[in-house]
Symmetry: C2
Amino acid sequence: MFKRLCSAKDALELLLDRCAPLEHTELLPLAEAVGRVLCGDLVSSVDLPSFNRAAMDGFAVRAAETRGASPSAPVYLQRFLPLRTGMAVPDGFDAVVMLEDSALRGSILEVTAPVHPFRNVARIGEDISMGDVVFKEGHRLRPPDIALLAALGQEMAEVFARPRVAIIPTGSELVVPGSRALRPGEAYESNGLMAQLYVERWGGLPLKQKTVQDDPGLIRDALESKIDADMIVIIGGTSVGEKDYVPRVLADAGQLLVHGIRVQPGKPTALGAVGRTPVICLPGYPVAALCGLYLFVRPALKKLAHLGDDMPMTHACLSGKIASRPGYLSIVRVALKGKEAEPIMTSGAGILSSVARADGFVIVPEEREGMEAGEMVEVTLIE
Amino acid sequence: MFKRLCSAKDALELLLDRCAPLEHTELLPLAEAVGRVLCGDLVSSVDLPSFNRAAMDGFAVRAAETRGASPSAPVYLQRFLPLRTGMAVPDGFDAVVMLEDSALRGSILEVTAPVHPFRNVARIGEDISMGDVVFKEGHRLRPPDIALLAALGQEMAEVFARPRVAIIPTGSELVVPGSRALRPGEAYESNGLMAQLYVERWGGLPLKQKTVQDDPGLIRDALESKIDADMIVIIGGTSVGEKDYVPRVLADAGQLLVHGIRVQPGKPTALGAVGRTPVICLPGYPVAALCGLYLFVRPALKKLAHLGDDMPMTHACLSGKIASRPGYLSIVRVALKGKEAEPIMTSGAGILSSVARADGFVIVPEEREGMEAGEMVEVTLIE
């Protein structure tokens, strides 16, 4: 039995208190900086454009000399210069007359419409001026942002480092997938791979470790050897059985903050720290592990990485009733069928095929006892 | 002037007609197959679990022998076996009694509650049976799906190849970012980098080419040298000026399907093919290039890659009026402030800083002339 069950909200708060956004940074070539977070305000050291630039194909002119021009009373210019879009408007000129408002008559330009100064000209620094803050610290660089940095002449960007997340699968029954046939009582290791792929997707650098046997000494060694990581995710052996050593080892080697959370599936989740490194202990049941990844690993990782919580969500209408245990945060898998969310009812946290069929989750709050068919719900999409 | 302007819808249809989903496939290690699309139904070759598995810590028993057990009238068993969750229930036993319903009395087990056959047992094949279709062809593999394949003992997954997309920046004025200071009339190449990053993000394999000068022969060589790609994106030189060679070269080297589209920004976009390879010609103005990437490159690439259109969207209330040109599909950059979308008004397609400030786009349909403040709109988020 768990000594004291913690609510999901309190558990997450305790965890996030231990997660300080990383301070170390790295300088990356632009193409590798996409998706990364700027570690300081980005100030332009140049003007964009860096010269007065023609915004149209046409002729550079002096605006004052076109005053009063019209089709019935054209103006004739001797000083002009043919330009294409993007070319520099040289000193001595201050506007561009469009092709349709002009005609070359030998060495003379006929202009049939007046232009104001800087008409059809992108002026120096009009888009971005030297000294402008282009992006603030904490901005996540998207492809057009990277393109903007390139347009400013940058080759590199300085960004926050990715959190290094050690992933430690535990369980004497685990076998490397495909290495050999299973004997009774064995299973292929799969949770560590799932955690690795999500950590990568959520902005971390996964450090996947070899599977550790159910042995307190080996588990302690594995935890302590990764004390320099920014976070440790250890999977399996988190319940209250005789061989569930992980929470006890964590309490000995560091600190056990939470063991047992009112969340379904995922009750045997534990949270703590080794030294200053936060540790998340996920249950070995794959669906419970998945829920723990979403509820705890994701927000902790996003905080370490200076990333906002951009959980992909949609709205849908429940096509069937959901049962849930009051007092527990319940995570119910659903399949989306058009605008409807169909609950996937299964007996337990071990049923992997239920996730294969699910498009997302509905989260039933602790104070509710299930949800009715026809209710509009928020669906968290499985990324 | 453009000879004939095409609507965005018709243009996209013509393009998609030329894009056949790829047929070639590749066999990848599981960890590399995440995000990829299965090229056939995935049928399980094993049962999961592969043995009758204890779903609880407790004792394996014969269910029939527990009949009638209660706290006041316990049953005493000689044949039983202590088991932990996940262990095999051996032949001769068919149920597991929970720890709380039992007690060891020397070599005898006291049972205080009856169990039905297979109570607390995950039966062979209960989750997935040999021969079950686990995922259908076309399924995109998410991390828990990869974990499921690992749990089935797979090491590899066979998926559709990623579309190879050649990206050809053109423009004699373009300079490699950071290589040297700009002279008047020059600009750093940035659109090609933006296209490269989006192609990668949208499931393609970008093949970024060197920048090509404004020279019909060189442009033709560049197009023809990439005829073996699955798609070509060529950027710049697509308008109707004297030096805008790209559409003319495309017409000569292959087929020009569309030149000039009623979309703002992005009117000087062209579409065609070289051999059987679809070609998208994007304008060199960066905001127009970005719009062309979203409107044309993205759906074409997703179709080639067997991927659904999963455009990230949100809803918001317009905080200001939007002006748009009737008859044109208008793409208006907006900044999200809570539940409000604030239009970013700028003079043109050349203003990169407007994208830096934008979180997404509002698309104003052709038949509308702007939108009013207070309207609820769909916002396409800039990924």
